[in-house]
Symmetry: C2
Subunit: 197 residues, 2 copies
């Protein structure tokens, strides 16, 4: 009954008591978009998941597209690969991606949705340049080659991700991380460090 009665100030910034709700909406949205895709994920369903009224979603995020934009921000969590030797780069990258995709199911979901309806044009471009690019740069001496090498690495890693996490092709899902690394790491390694053809 008395519940918790938090002190008036919960910090230096007044945290807008509704931040909790805002976050709940976003969490529910990510899950719904992930499971159902953009069109099938209805605002009503998201609101129900978050235990609030549909109109609240609009108040907080303006409209459905705004909600989606907020929900589909992807963070690859690329480490800086500081201690990684150049000839281990391919393996390190492939392992990181496998782990990342596996630990965060919403990654696959957001990719699916992103591919489906071209809502966020140029978003993936930014993702490549902003997140994958810097990692590639650490192993690639010639700056001019970075975009292309980044794209090549992405093509292989992304293709594997599509097969394994989106399509869930049995042949691929049944492979172990080590097996995948054994095949993909040399490819990625070549894209990173081989001299230009």
């Amino acid at each position: 009954m008395t519940e918790n009665s938090p002190p008036a100030d919960t910090g230096t910034h007044r945290p807008r008591r509704s931040e909790a709700t805002r976050a709940a909406i976003l969490r529910a949205a990510v899950a719904r978009f992930a499971a159902d895709g953009y069109e099938r994920a209805t605002i009503r369903a998201i609101a129900r998941d978050a235990d609030i009224d549909p109109s609240m979603v609009m108040r907080y995020y303006g409209n459905k597209e705004g909600l989606f934009r907020a929900a589909s921000e992807i963070d690859l969590r690329m480490p800086d690969f500081a201690g990684v030797r150049a000839e281990e780069a391919g393996e390190a990258l492939v392992r990181h991606f496998l782990q990342r995709w596996e630990e965060d199911g919403s990654l696959a979901a957001m990719l699916r949705v992103g591919l489906a309806s071209g809502l966020d044009e140029g978003r993936q471009q930014a993702l490549l340049e902003g997140q994958v690019g810097p990692a590639v740069a650490r192993f690639c001496a010639v700056p001019a080659e970075i975009p292309r090498r980044t794209a090549l690495v992405a093509s292989q890693v992304l293709g594997m991700a599509v097969l394994r996490y989106l399509l869930e092709v049995p042949t691929v899902t049944s492979m172990t991380h080590d097996e995948i690394v054994a095949w993909l790491a040399p490819t990625v390694q070549r894209y990173l460090t081989a001299e230009t053809a």
Copy 2:
């Protein structure tokens, strides 16, 4: 006016004079699904494109999902690679895929839609086994390895296709066929013929 007045029997099978309409519907459906995705491609729009009534679509294909199933049958048109030497296999495959994707825009579209909402589970699996598999088999002696090698080849080719034709990342779209082949062919070649790790 007189138009063509076909004889009563145009063959052993009576060709159901409506086959023309049926085909028109399907053509419009492919285009619409391609452009707008599954949910946004409305039956009304498809019918309008085909210059018929929406209800005709239902008569011919039962419901929207049936229409989609009919419209999303992908034919990779794999040649038999009879005259291709083993060490040219990678290049031959990559070139074929590039050409195929380029000449038939609906391929990309259908992939997009197929990825979006898991309507056709196991469909891509069948596509791999039925169409890519046999091509791989021609260059792979050990039958047991075919599924896995097929999947690996697919991962690279498909990843490139996603970047180039779905996401249309500038870095990738600006590459020439020869450049792509130069990078991808060795990878595919290795997936086809390298000894198991």
